[in-house]
Symmetry: C2
Subunit: 190 residues, 2 copies
């Protein structure tokens, strides 16, 4: 919970009172490895802040293969914002890759929170702005670099993260096959 307050205060400042109001709208929760916060076909009901742990957002492509759109780690919000906003069935799965702790902001109380603390609207504006630019950067990397280069770049950008997840998930996130990643790593050894 403190991690969330710290994160918010990086963008806007909250009074003691506001912090307490905020806490009354947020529920913290443990999530076991492989548990789902959302499954394809369900309507997404909340926005999740990852206090600790790692999640993956993925979908099934037409060949029945799991395709990971992105990971969420400590101090990131994660959700299917399209399903959340429009209250339509999601195309995605949102699953814990490792045991995690999250703060849950339910859709049903979100508007009330914004009314009581309008600053939160600003906070989320900045969060989405950042998420959007990160997503654009990602497209840039996909178009600019080869698979091999993307792997090395990812390793440099998130040192140690590779050890937290199975290789086939990283391959999926980077947009190539597990076999290809295996060959890239074999090459590196030499």
């Amino acid at each position: 919970m403190q991690a969330l307050l710290n994160h918010i205060q990086k963008f806007v400042s909250l009074s003691e009172e506001e912090q307490e109001i905020l806490q009354s709208y947020i529920v913290c929760q443990e999530v076991n490895k492989k548990d789902y916060l959302l499954r394809q076909g369900q309507v997404c009901m909340a926005n999740y802040f990852i206090l600790k742990g790692c999640f993956r957002l993925y979908y099934m492509n037409d060949n029945g293969i799991e395709q990971i759109l992105h990971f969420g780690i400590d101090n990131w919000w994660i959700s299917d914002y399209d399903s959340l906003e429009k209250e339509t069935p999601s195309e995605f799965f949102l699953q814990a890759v490792e045991h995690a702790r999250i703060a849950v902001l339910k859709k049903s109380v979100q508007e009330e929170l914004f009314t009581k603390i309008p600053k939160m609207e600003r906070y989320f504006r900045l969060v989405f702005q950042k998420a959007y630019t990160a997503s654009q950067q990602r497209i840039k990397y996909i178009y600019t670099f080869s698979g091999e280069e993307r792997y090395h770049h990812f390793n440099k950008s998130f040192p140690g993260f590779v050890q937290r997840i199975p290789q086939y998930m990283l391959a999926s996130y980077l947009g190539f096959t597990p076999e290809f990643l295996s060959k890239v790593r074999a090459k590196k050894e030499k």
Copy 2:
């Protein structure tokens, strides 16, 4: 200008008075084909709403090739939000693909506008939320479909748009070479 007010009112409602305040913060402007709103190395100074026309946001990759990250058309905001937020030099070019009319929200007055009309914070939260989900969808298409499929999908999604831009720009946006696009189109004829 009216197009912008209409767009805003799709997300939040503004009183007559607020509309007038807003208009005092916005400058409308004509932009000629091939003119730049932003060049690589410059600090981005404003957020632009496209009233009419088409822009492209692109960068130079390491081989000196223009890589288009995305297009902006009527009723979209476009800018380099990373440069705008952090006031750092941009890596991107933002250029009019056809003659355009835009509404300019300068960075220097943006905060004052948000103070006077806090609803605008909410408006932009929703705009960025939408932009973020669109960007995620784009990554999904890139990973799921082949180049050929992406071309056909784009054509279906934005009928008529293909005619507005040179083919090499579309190829760049879709992430392959102009030669490849030419071959895909030749195949379709049969």
